[in-house]
Symmetry: C2
Subunit: 511 residues, 2 copies
């Protein structure tokens, strides 16, 4: 077991996280802290960090070092970004930090900053080709990602705070001021024609992006209270922008989901996003909850635990196994075996349910995590599992897929009409998804039943699909007693018939 | 670590559970199964278990033995109750079980059955004086409990199944038939005058009691889906009984919460409860979800881990610590320290919040479990903690107290008006409880802040309550840096002022 802390000293805020990595390689966030220290405040005149700002940073850093000691952290990695990088007295500050706290603060380049932000995103969001923007107070980093690799990145000198300060003289933008700002944003973006017409989704990190998501979720009474991986289509984004622009500050502050400290700079921030949308010519904004500090973690984890590769190949299965690793070895073996059986049945019965590979992955996640609710309570564990699946750190899966997987977990012992009716995330699924969800629930239930005795006796299945029936040939070791498995599977024949409109005929074939 | 299985072979159903006890002594239910084998079916003519019934039992028992082996269980304890006890061929059956499965089935006496049922209840329900009834198909066990000890118990020869079979000839009761049944029930109960006018709450276990609770919960759209420890006042019980009696079978089956297999015998079952209510002369029925099998577990656990005492002295703290023990030692130390500090503040500020000892216990539970949501996800862990607190196996606490404790956990970082508004279990709390809940949330937040650095530096506090202010003197070791704690506590001064209408003046006193 090791504990490692990361510090991300940004221009506006400083963030501190402690991760614990267990002996099995599973990890979890143990502690986190964030302070708004405004390190770049008043530094743009002579490009020097002010004494006050440096003092505020030192107070936070001292307290993080103290906390790291109290938590028995083995290693602290601290990085500083734009403010320190651009300040003429950056080195002086780094020495001061070393002297006062013992921390080796590393000032990273813009390229490295983009790489770390990218690592935070690529290991927690299941997109392959997209454009990351990290919208800050004084700059916006834009990174083009293709096939899960950085193709190009740039730091644009436009930010929500500086634009508002530069162009808005009174309490509100005049039309003239606003148009001037739009022109400046366009100019900054258009200097990078490699972004033009990329037609890939925008992936936004940072406070502005999160606030956009929050406003949209509140408007829709969205049932999942999670911003990470939330998608907003262009037309809803423009509706939000129109609303935000049409209201004076006092009214804006009352918009549900918009934080009141951000109400003054949200127009500039959202206008940058709007112009990025148009230039890139895309239809969707995806919001990321992770960023540089997660990137620092995955950079370290990749070096130490993944043979030097900080980009995890399959983030969904990786994150599901990470959630699982808190369970006992015994439970893990059963969960993986159920996943294997579910995969086999899914493929053999594909002509019947007509599911695609995305749904196959949902079934896989549900199979792995179907017993996870037992950590809350054995009784009603399917319902608790449903809650945990939606609220755990699962990456590489959309909210709809997460709701779909939760639906399968809820029905992992067979379909329960009552629970189906009360399914909290039902509004996220359309009728077609619900219909196929019912079919896949039966697959998960049968896969679970096939390892009911937790002995991994069944590994080989064959199916023959007829017009009125499905024949399932279950091979098993002749020397073993499988009466428990037989009983568990046969109890599901009726439910199978109901969802598949065919008789399930099981042939138990000793080998 | 050890695993132990229990089998409870009853007259109608057989139950199988596997518990795991960890090296720290914490335990959890690992697996459970229930089969309706109707062992007593057709035995009452010649008082012999039929061959068919014995065969059904053997099939289940074989599968349990297999399951226990697959789960690497160390010990199986199997007991049989009324059916085997009263059958003339009971010994023959026990030999058959031994021969077929290797199980040493122990036929227990009525007194032992009552004792085990009592152990299941007394270790999971926080009442001191009450009357347990275990309403079965052919009999109803009644036990008078005083000061958490059995005073007297009896097995009444009236059950939901036998009464319905004896008195109801057609599809429904005629008035005459119903009145005859009532007479018989009264007669059976009145033979035990020690039950007359006991005026203590009824505690019901078994299917009838659980169904009563379920119907009531559905009627009230009750927000907690848990039957254990659910309370029903007399007047609501009689309303349910009137409804059930007024509807013919087909209509009864449609009553929300009533299981359709029980719809035929529910009138007889509820009439027994009604007559117990009247004879005992009490106002509340409390429903218990646990029974004989939990009793078997606590009997074993008491012998092996509690120095021979199967009655746990403080079930609330015991169960909270059992939930906690899944956490790391490190988290446990912090949680207990926060609990200690919260207790001190609660007592010193009692004149301000005027809470009683029951609320003090809620605060204690919230303090112990305030970080438990981190098992789901670090982010939003207060919300997840709220979910886990309501859904975990916490005993000795009412549903309202559980909702109250969850409210405190949700606010463990200080009161968040938005979350307060969306608090799922809010309907269970009245305005007075909500008002004091807000005050205690601040205590929990301050207690947590006082151990923000997780170092247990603060152990001694003094308070002076003035008309306009509350002075809090925090003693701390002079050699240690407490700036993190100072920062965390001072951030709560505003919230304190809002709820207590007094200024919080903190004096940091080095020792």
């Amino acid at each position: 077991m090791e504990r490692i802390a990361f510090i991300d000293l940004g221009s506006n805020s400083v963030r501190f996280v402690i991760y614990e990595i267990s002996d099995t390689g599973s990890y979890r966030l143990l502690y986190q802290e964030k302070d708004s220290i405004r390190l770049s405040e008043n530094m743009w005149g002579d490009h020097k960090l002010t004494q006050e700002a440096m003092n505020r940073a030192l107070v936070s850093l001292q307290s993080y070092v103290h906390m790291a000691k109290a938590f028995e952290v083995d290693t602290i990695k601290a990085v500083a970004t734009a403010a320190v990088r651009l300040a003429n007295n950056g080195d002086e500050f780094i020495n001061l930090v070393k002297q006062d706290t013992g921390l080796e603060l590393e000032c990273i380049s813009g390229v490295e900053e983009a790489r770390l932000g990218f690592l935070g995103v690529i290991n927690t969001i299941g997109l392959k080709d997209f454009v990351i923007f990290d919208l800050g107070g004084a700059s916006t980093e834009v990174t083009l990602v293709r096939n899960r690799q950085i193709e190009k990145s740039v730091s644009l000198p436009i930010g929500a705070l500086t634009l508002t300060g530069t162009y808005q003289k009174g309490e509100e933008f005049t039309d003239k001021e606003y148009n001037k700002m739009v022109k400046a944003i366009k100019q900054a973006i258009e200097e990078h024609p490699w972004l033009k017409n990329v037609k890939k989704p925008l992936l936004g990190i940072g406070g502005t992006a999160r606030n956009i998501a929050k406003m949209d979720q509140r408007k829709l009474s969205y049932p999942i209270t999670k911003l990470h991986n939330y998608e907003i289509p262009y037309h809803r984004f423009t509706e939000l922008l129109d609303e935000v622009k049409s209201k004076p500050l006092a009214q804006r502050k009352k918009i549900n989901g918009l934080s009141s400290e951000r109400a003054d700079i949200i127009i500039a921030g959202m206008t940058i996003v709007y112009e990025l949308f148009n230039y890139i010519n895309c239809k969707t904004l995806v919001v990321g909850g992770s960023g540089l500090r997660e990137g620092l973690f995955y950079d370290y984890y990749g070096q130490a635990y993944l043979g030097g590769n900080p980009i995890i190949p399959d983030i969904l299965i990786h994150s599901a196994e990470n959630v699982l690793l808190g369970m006992t070895r015994y439970e893990l073996i059963h969960a993986k075996h159920v996943g294997k059986l579910a995969d086999i049945l899914y493929d053999q019965w594909q002509p019947l349910h007509k599911g695609d590979t995305a749904l196959r992955r949902c079934l896989q996640v549900s199979s792995l995590l179907h017993d996870i609710g037992k950590r809350v309570n054995y009784y009603s564990h399917a319902r608790h599992g449903c809650y945990m699946l939606v609220n755990s750190n699962l990456y590489g899966i959309t909210h709809i897929e997460q709701a779909f997987s939760a639906f399968l977990v809820m029905n992992s012992h067979g379909l329960k009409p009552k629970e189906y009716k009360n399914f909290l995330y039902g509004q996220l699924l359309d009728d077609e998804q619900k219909a196929i969800g019912k079919k896949l629930s039966i697959i998960l239930a049968i896969a679970e039943a096939l390892d009911e005795s937790h002995e991994q006796l069944i590994t080989h299945l064959e199916s023959r699909i007829g017009p009125e029936e499905v024949q399932l040939i279950v091979h098993y070791p002749a020397s073993r007693d499988i009466s428990i498995i037989k009983g568990a599977v046969e109890r599901l024949e009726k439910a199978f018939k109901k969802e598949y409109k065919r008789q399930l005929q099981i042939e138990w074939s000793p080998q």
